[in-house]
């Protein structure tokens, strides 16, 4: 009972972050029909800045880290990505009026990872003064790539021989390469590499970290506007997609929290790391995922999976899951 109360109060506390205010503000603007639009070029630049910041930070600090500890959480990340897809297939995929391919593409997206949500989680952890392993953000690709591969491979097995066209030939290797080449993962990995090799602390603190929170606030505004304006697309597909998008982040996050807890006990994975893993699991891919799935499962309807993820999945991950898992950690791992 006490635990629940303290969970609730900690959750309520988290809800007052500026991050969230900008997300909700964006929805409000779109709901009111505002013409405000952050230019596309600025949006893409912000994403770059955030990922470079996360990468540089990881790279700079990773020198002092014990990378052997990464093994178990990384394995868990792979497991979570795959379980998410399978879970989507046997739940969303069995519902009436839901095509198998659409279910697979959607659960692939929800199994994969959003860099923006990750960035928002890192700011929330900072504000709550919770530390985590420097390599925790590097868990991202370990969950992202397997989820996309599994979704596409399963879709292909199902669709075998159906389409004779040239395009439908993405192999697992190509999916991996495609993911690593995506702007999100490239920026993250390059940042890590540069951070590790040249340790540009001054540049990092004086520029990338300096602008991080500000840019994140603008990104949240954009994501809020996007979420609202894609609602109309969501209405055109079966309602099950909305229901799935509302529940999947929480379920995936809880699974990750459980596995993270195991890693905490067995290899000493930090509470902050457990939260990061849970948020990565709760998030859904908004950058590399959609085009990879479009290319890999061309017969799936992009409106279904993009609208479900942008309109419902991402707001839930940011506005519900981040505060929820921070609050849960505060209850589960007492200081």
């Amino acid at each position: 009972m006490d635990a629940l109360l303290s969970l609730l109060s900690s959750f309520a506390n988290q809800l007052q972050s500026p991050t969230l205010a900008f997300l909700i503000g964006g929805m409000l603007l779109a709901a009111c029909g505002s013409k405000l639009a952050i230019p596309d070029a600025v949006y893409r630049f912000i994403i770059f800045m955030l990922l470079m910041k996360v990468g540089l930070n990881g790279g700079i600090e990773i020198r002092n880290a014990d990378l052997a500890q990464l093994a178990l959480p990384a394995v868990f990340a792979v497991v979570i990505g795959c379980v998410a897809v399978l879970l989507g297939l046997v739940t969303l995929g069995k519902l009436p009026n839901v095509k198998r391919e659409d279910a697979l593409a959607t659960s692939g997206l929800f199994g994969a990872v959003s860099a923006s949500t990750l960035a928002a989680a890192m700011v929330a952890l900072d504000e709550a003064e919770i530390t985590y392993e420097a390599w925790a953000p590097a868990l991202y690709p370990f969950m992202d790539i397997p989820a996309l591969i599994l979704a596409i491979v399963l879709a292909k097995l199902a669709g075998k021989g159906k389409s004779g066209s040239k395009q439908n030939q993405l192999t697992a290797k190509q999916i991996i390469v495609d993911s690593l080449r995506s702007s999100a993962l490239s920026a993250l990995l390059l940042g890590m590499l540069i951070g590790f090799v040249v340790q540009p602390v001054e540049l990092y603190e004086g520029f990338y970290e300096l602008l991080f929170r500000g840019f994140l606030s603008i990104l949240m505004l954009i994501m809020g506007m996007e979420a609202w304006s894609r609602l109309s697309e969501l209405r055109q597909v079966a309602q099950w997609f909305a229901a799935y998008a509302a529940l999947a982040p929480i379920v995936h996050g809880l699974i990750a929290f459980g596995l993270g807890y195991i890693a905490h006990i067995t290899v000493g994975f930090s509470p902050g790391g457990v939260i990061i893993l849970s948020i990565i699991a709760a998030s859904n891919s908004d950058i590399s995922g959609p085009p990879t799935l479009r290319a890999g499962i061309p017969s799936a309807n992009p409106s279904a999976y993009i609208a479900a993820s942008t309109s419902v999945g991402t707001p839930i991950a940011i506005a519900v899951c981040i505060p929820l898992f921070i609050a849960l950690a505060e209850v589960v791992f007492p200081a």
């Binding site: 639009a37 952050i38 230019p39 596309d40 600025v42 949006y43 893409r44 994403i47 389409s163 004779g164 066209s165 040239k166 395009q167 439908n168 702007s183 999100a184 954009i222 996007e226 304006s229 697309e233 908004d286 950058i287 959609p290 085009p291 479009r294 290319a295 061309p298 017969s299 309807n301 992009p302 409106s303 993009i306």
Partner: protein, 104 residues
């Protein structure tokens, strides 16, 4: 001065742009011009005004001009067969005349 020619206009998703232009190079089109846009057909409404890191869903309008109309039609048909079974897009063909025909 002007010589009869055929123009082919291909409207497709941007993710196909590089594959289509590679095919144009291989099948002997002497050049092409690409313009970005947005559009609506049977699927998504696409718009490049919205911030989106996924530019792959934008629309591109690729046009090429050839003197040899039959060849142009063949290329157009091949693009339709190879790409537009699975993916969005339309192709149309118009008649035109070109100046400085030696360029084509």
């Amino acid at each position: 001065m002007s010589v009869a020619a055929t123009t082919v206009t291909i409207i497709a998703e941007r993710m196909l742009q590089s594959q289509i232009t590679r095919m144009l190079d291989e099948t002997g089109a002497t050049g092409y011009t690409v313009v970005e846009g947005s559009g609506k057909g049977h699927h998504l409404t696409r718009t490049h005004e919205r911030p989106s890191i996924v530019r792959d869903f934008d629309i591109v309008r690729i046009e090429f001009v050839m003197l040899d109309g039959d060849h142009a039609r063949e290329i157009a048909q091949q693009i339709a067969d190879d790409f537009f079974v699975d993916y969005s897009g339309i192709i149309y063909i118009t008649r035109a005349e070109v100046l400085r025909a030696d360029r084509f």
